[in-house]
Symmetry: C2
Subunit: 512 residues, 2 copies
């Protein structure tokens, strides 16, 4: 890094100014702080200097590190040099504009600076008293987010680390909403009067729903997967039938999780019809819009939230497609008092004089300690402005449609899911593997064999693509078909990056 050569001066500076605390002196902090800022500026200017995924093998990083911690203090120069030498080259670069795996995200400039300031203040926003500004800024920025997405004024928001935790909290509230079960007080096991409890989500819903069911003690069988239609959307008729069947078998349904943009295919569940079922059956409706919800900042995409004003809770992750560095998930909830009942436990040493007139955010989840995550959301929303964020999301949607059109126009490639957001699922279908398709009335054995061959071929293709280090795609299966998964969401991704990627994919597939 620039500015880290004068080690002798620095060490001397530390010995003098920081002797009492062991921490960096202001001069030292400034010097290395500038070096860090310079490095980040240069990094973000062109992350394509690095491979997207590193050419490293499991264990290589640990092998390069000393087996034991240093006894004596080390210089910040050495630490930063090792960061550049050992960490950066062994990093998968999520900020690389050709990172297209999973759902891309962006650590934007304003968000990065906010994280540095949050670490400096180092507040713990467990109680209003311990962090008045962080507490109120969290409530306020989440409400700004609510407004940006057109969500109802009745929703109150809290920030968690990830959508998995937001969904866990929402389903804990759903369990607590059945107050007559007295789950908080008496628990679930060994109580003859408690029936099996069940949550419903589509076959395409995220694994975090199942993880929440397991954590909350409902078990994997406490989640029932509902079939989807040809566009991977939950079938509300099948949902209603499943609930009827379960009730007939003495099972107590408690919640339905609908998804706005599923992870595998970005399908949008029919929330209005699902909300009808939930209202009729008295079930908690949680909406997982972790990635896709951001698109509602656009008037033309506001349709995705149709019916969500009837939800009990909804999660959107600003750290996914709102350019806020991880971690930042916003959980909206219509009856925050139920969430509070599910989690609030206040020992004497955590009572304060303001308890009756201020919100103590520790009451709304598992974690007592809470970082000042709202700061990066505030910085990012203000720096970009609603219009700035909308512009980028609109551009990403355009890029996705463009890439989809390239796939559609190519005779050897096949797209295997609709593109309503920024995810394109596609596969290579080389002529030699499509023989039976072209033949008349191929049997199902033939079809299965073709599918298996296509899966193997595309898995190999994916491996070869990612091995270049030039781009990173992930994969999924949709209706049993193996698909390459290209998702757009990084601020720095342009049409040129996509064209380069498409060229690379075709070249490796031998389908120019």
């Amino acid at each position: 890094m620039p500015g880290i050569e004068e080690e002798v001066v620095q060490q001397a500076g530390r010995a003098e100014a920081g002797a009492g605390t062991g921490d960096m002196s202001p001069e030292e902090f400034r010097r290395f702080g500038y070096a860090v800022i310079d490095w980040i500026a240069s990094y973000l200017e062109d992350p394509t200097r690095w491979r997207v995924t590193p050419a490293t093998e499991p264990g290589a990083v640990r092998d390069a590190l000393p087996p034991s911690p240093p006894d004596e203090p080390e210089s910040m120069s050495d630490v930063l040099e090792d960061f550049e030498r050992l960490i950066v080259p062994a990093t998968t670069h999520w900020n690389h504009p050709r990172f297209f795996g999973y759902f891309p995200s962006t650590g934007s400039g304003p968000g990065i600076l906010a994280e540095a300031l949050a670490a400096a203040l180092n507040v713990n926003a467990m109680l209003w008293r311990t962090a008045p500004a962080a507490t109120e800024l969290e409530q306020h920025t989440v409400d700004w987010l609510r407004q940006l997405l057109g969500l109802p004024t009745t929703f109150r928001g809290v920030i968690t680390d990830t959508a998995s935790v937001s969904t866990l909290y929402a389903l804990a509230a759903a369990r607590e909403a059945n107050a007559e079960l007295r789950v908080r007080q008496d628990g679930l096991p060994g109580r003859a009067e408690i029936p099996r409890l069940r949550i419903y989500a589509s076959e395409e819903a995220h694994s975090s729903v199942e993880k929440a069911a397991v954590t909350l003690g409902l078990g994997q069988s406490g989640l029932r997967r509902i079939p989807t239609d040809e566009r991977f959307r939950m079938d509300p008729e099948a949902l209603a039938a499943a609930i009827r069947e379960d009730r007939a078998n003495g099972i107590l349904p408690i919640a339905v999780v609908a998804t706005i943009a599923t992870t595998a295919t970005t399908a949008v569940d029919p929330v209005p019809a699902i909300a009808d079922v939930c209202e009729r059956e008295g079930l908690w409706l949680h909406v997982d819009a972790a990635y896709g919800g951001a698109a509602a900042v656009l008037p033309e995409m506001r349709w995705i939230f149709e019916g969500c004003d009837r939800a009990d809770s909804l999660v959107v992750n600003p750290h996914k497609w709102f350019f806020v560095p991880v971690d930042c998930s916003a959980l909206f909830i219509r009856r925050p008092e139920v969430l509070r009942r599910a989690f609030s436990i206040v020992p004497d040493y955590l009572t304060t004089a303001e308890d009756d007139r201020a919100t103590n955010l520790m009451d709304y989840g598992v974690s007592l300690g809470r970082r000042f995550r709202a700061l990066k959301l505030w910085f990012t929303l203000r720096y970009f402005g609603a219009s700035g964020i909308a512009d980028r999301i609109r551009e990403h949607l355009r890029l996705a449609r463009l890439f989809a059109s390239w796939v559609d126009e190519h005779p050897e490639f096949e797209r295997i899911a609709p593109v309503d957001f920024t995810l394109i699922l596609f596969r290579h279908r080389p002529p030699q593997l499509t023989a039976s398709r072209n033949g008349a009335a191929a049997g199902s054995d033939d079809q299965a064999a073709v599918e298996a061959a296509l899966a193997e071929h595309n898995a190999r293709l994916l491996e070869q693509i990612n091995a270049t280090g030039e781009v990173f795609l992930s994969h999924t299966r949709a209706s049993g078909r193996y698909a390459l998964r290209l998702a757009i969401g990084n601020l720095r991704t342009t049409e040129q990056h996509l064209a380069y990627t498409w060229e690379l994919v075709r070249r490796i597939a031998g389908a120019t």
Copy 2:
């Protein structure tokens, strides 16, 4: 902030260089990045320029913010100015050297710089493939921590956000360790063959244990509180008796939580005797050493971990007394495969080619998304070195004993718990409230009245002390007695800060 006056230049720079992405141009990032670094350097140089707790009322911050997010982008100058104008003055300054509430912590220089770099890389360490360096550095630095604290080589560590979550994970593993219950698969409710499950912890154990019991579906009654001795330590005989009684009543004990340095009084539970009980009864032993565990870096404090080599899991928070910014909690576990069984759910889209030879950290908890928290732990451990950290912790222990001696020597103050760590519990006992104490054979009604009067007097005293903004103490109750709670743990706290505080406390109490 310095360097933020040339707004016109900046806005022009943005229009040109960042037009494509909306993000800051490298020049703009450098300029505002330097301003942020300067601000932090100046902040940390002397946090005593601010009140420890702000003179702000609930709602004031929100009232000062625009009700809606900006439509157009705002300049970084305005954002940073508002940070200084609205946020900093309404912040409780955990980095203030006279912050003595709860357990103090420090956002150290190396940790702050690491957080900025982590936000820039913005990796999600859910899979090895998505973050090789972050994954392996997490495993490695947590192992360094294990070595520093003298914990057994059989312990494997993962980083979570907070001790509350670490304890939740440990108890989820304890539940899963009873594999024959099939909790993961079939859940707890509606199964006649599942008895009531129970966890044991002392009356002084942290509220997070109860919160974990509620979250996991065991309910508040799924936690049984064990009485403590005169030094607030769990009574192992009472533990054994409670387990016997519960078994006789058809309840299934599954885990015991022992605490090394409780929150209210820093009591150390007798782990060897508790481990005997756990081994005899086949129970999971979890040790909560969230704050106090750090002291084991000192040979003379290593005794606190006696018996902990027999624990199944143990939590220590580097963000408490190891000078790492929040959030960073280390969960050690002897059988990581049990934790994995409790939480691992892997959909097809999260499978990778390295799954059989690399650790995917998402498998060990609820959160799928995981920040690069190990970076700040690595920076901090290296910058301070083991000896540097030990020196500061030793100094904090000396300061605590010193403050305790001042309390002990003063006729009007009373210390009401042993000082084995850095927490001093004390109260003012003015002559006019101790009449009955000096009289012969005061009745229990008299004693209760004195206690109530002392509680009221000390609560008022605490309010007056904290209202000065010069220091911040919190409170607790120990054996029913209301106590002021002064904890030492910030890097910048010196003997002078304590002397100043003691002078202030005496002056306000009218007991100079």
